[in-house]
Amino acid sequence: MLEISNSFLFQTMLKSAVLLGLSAGMLGVFISYQRRSIEINALSAGSFVGILILFLLSSLGLYISPYIFSQVDKHIYSFTGSILGILIMITILNILYKTNRLHPHIIQSLMTAVLLGVGITLITSIKQAGGALDSGIDIYLFGETTSLTDEEFHFLRIITLTVILLLLLFFKRLRVVVFNIDIAKTTHFHTMFYVHLINVFVVCLVALSVKLMGVFLAVSVFLIPAVTARLWSNRLFNIMLLSGFFGGLGGGIGAVIAGNISHVSSGISITIVLAVMFFISLLVAPKGLLGVWIRGRK
């Protein structure tokens, strides 16, 4: 039933899912140690609104600096929109953290839902306007890996490989920054550079992940592999490699399932595969149920 065909669409989809899973899984370890996993939910909702606002602007004839986008595809334009939306969302969240005594998680989950509401209002108003504009927008709700064009795939390959390379290169510094930023400040390197490096990675990968996984499930490819790898090991380097491996494996299997079964979109199948891997390792892994039971018997 499940087969890997040689068609261009299928190959693009498989490669992009594996690459995204690998890089997002490796980055997700640092994010989950910084306790920012709900924030990614909010960021993906922000990118959704950003895409829609840029669509609306382009329908009104307002192109932002058209000589950049005249050469490339409209899809890159939507990618720019999602990055703009994420940046706007980050500023909103940072202002709200400082001026409030509410817990940050309440603000994050509230703003997620509110931004989704704004996006859905925009979607319905776009659909009323009619025309060819509303054709590609439903993709962003649950994600579709086949919607990637050739240029976009090229873009994705560059970003994900750069993220993986830089994470491996700066691993030692990033470890200190993530675990204890005060110790990192006493040693002689630029701490804020590494903090902002993680932030730039997050912005780029969330924008890609919204396109592939959908708005609601964009967080799962970051968080689930990292938590799964945490069950198997205690050292951060091993956890990072394992998490990248789990993410890539889940992305690959999920893409194959989504390509072969008609009613399933890729974000849902990838999340299901990752969740099954999490539940299996919850039972079997050395820190899971089995390990706890054996340690209890001793």
Partner: protein, 374 residues
């Protein structure tokens, strides 16, 4: 019985009130992950129930939806016991797993593959369609089905809150005190769980399973800016949610955009407006507080200089002396001196500027409050 608009507005307002009652207690207890988890994992139960029944507001949907959302919360607690993970991360994993299985079932198995049903009603909500499921008693039309389901859950919520109000209050304000009088925390937990999951699975038609968390958290988080008492918190959040519903429906209905999206974005607008303009801790109030505090500090500095008599206190050149020693502008110093004189804090005795008795006591009070040595 009623017109279409009136009935839809009533369903929307009742479901918003139903959501905002447990939301007030959730925000009070800082149980923030419960809102997201319950409404995402209710998808599995809804999808399973839709295999057997064909319309969205049947009792089976409510029962199964609340059971799965409760199951997810219990699963999170059980996993948290033997691993080192936090509940927040676990809640995202488990709720997204439940959500994905639910969508898989709904897309492939529900409705027996015969009717072409748009699943986005479940995700995003469309209240206008609740009008078409009518409830008939002896062949007489007595209103839409969703109206009675929502009001039933609302009555359950109100009864639970009024009966267990003291327990909710003690547990929400001080957990240590609640433990010391041997009150069981788990009963309050489960009560809140029942209330939240029931109201989520009833009101998902209004807002959709992704935006119900705004219905739960939004009014309570907005109401926290205006009050600190628990009972008024509940009433204010009910008021805010109904205002948002009326305004959102009023904007959305004539323009034919999504009702749920408009209501939720209006809730967000209310939240941000109250962050800026709230009377006790708004941004505007903080800004003016900072301004007045700085001006008062300048007054105290000048009073301290006059008191210590470091400089020559003749009346003729007092302003120039102070402005040259502090390097402030002459206008500013003379303005402050005039203000001090008008408030009877300084006086002129034999061509010399002095503090009055009143000014001395005020200055001493200020200095003793500063805890620093001069």
């Amino acid at each position: 019985m009623f017109s279409i608009e009136f009935e839809i507005v009533i369903v929307i307002i009742l479901s918003a009130i139903t959501c905002s009652i447990p939301g007030a207690f959730l925000v009070m207890r800082r149980n923030y992950y419960a809102a997201d988890t319950t409404n995402r994992s209710a998808m599995l139960g809804i999808a399973v129930a839709l295999i057997f029944s064909s319309y969205l507001s049947s009792p089976l949907v409510i029962i199964l939806g609340s059971i799965t959302s409760g199951l997810a919360m219990i699963l999170i607690k059980k996993i948290k016991e033997f691993t080192s993970f936090r509940a927040k991360g676990l809640s995202i994993i488990i709720s997204s797993a439940f959500l994905c299985f639910g969508i898989l079932i709904a897309a492939n198995l529900s409705f027996n593959n015969t009717t072409n049903f748009d699943l986005s009603i479940i995700y995003l909500g469309e209240t206008a369609f609740t009008y078409f499921n009518r409830l008939r008693v002896f062949g007489v039309d007595i209103g839409s089905y969703a109206l009675y389901a929502v009001s039933f859950v609302l009555v359950i919520n109100i009864i639970l809150v009024t009966v267990f109000y003291n327990e909710f209050k003690i547990d929400g304000v001080d957990k240590n005190y609640a433990a010391s009088i041997e009150m069981k925390e788990s009963t309050i937990d489960y009560l809140l769980l029942i209330m939240t999951s029931l109201s989520v699975s009833v009101s998902f038609q209004t807002a959709g399973i992704f935006m119900t968390s705004a219905f739960i958290l939004g009014p309570a988080a907005t109401a926290l800016f205006y009050t600190k008492r628990l009972s008024t918190l509940a009433f204010v959040s009910v008021f805010i949610s109904s205002v948002a519903c009326l305004a959102g429906f009023g904007i959305a209905w004539p323009n034919e955009v999504s009702i749920s999206g408009t209501i939720v974005s209006f809730l967000g607008v209310l939240f941000i407006v109250s962050v800026i303009f709230s009377p006790e801790e708004g941004l505007v109030k903080k800004y003016f507080d900072n301004l007045t505090a700085q001006k008062r500090l300048e007054e105290y500095i000048i009073m301290d200089i006059l008191n210590s008599e470091i400089i020559d206190c003749r009346e003729k050149h007092i302003n120039e002396e102070i402005s040259s020693s502090l390097k402030w502008k002459l206008m500013k110093v003379s303005y402050i001196m005039n203000k001090l004189k008008a408030e009877n804090k300084i006086e002129i005795v034999q061509n010399k500027v002095q503090l009055t008795e009143e000014g001395k006591t005020i200055l001493n009070k200020f200095l003793s409050a500063q805890h620093c040595f001069y």
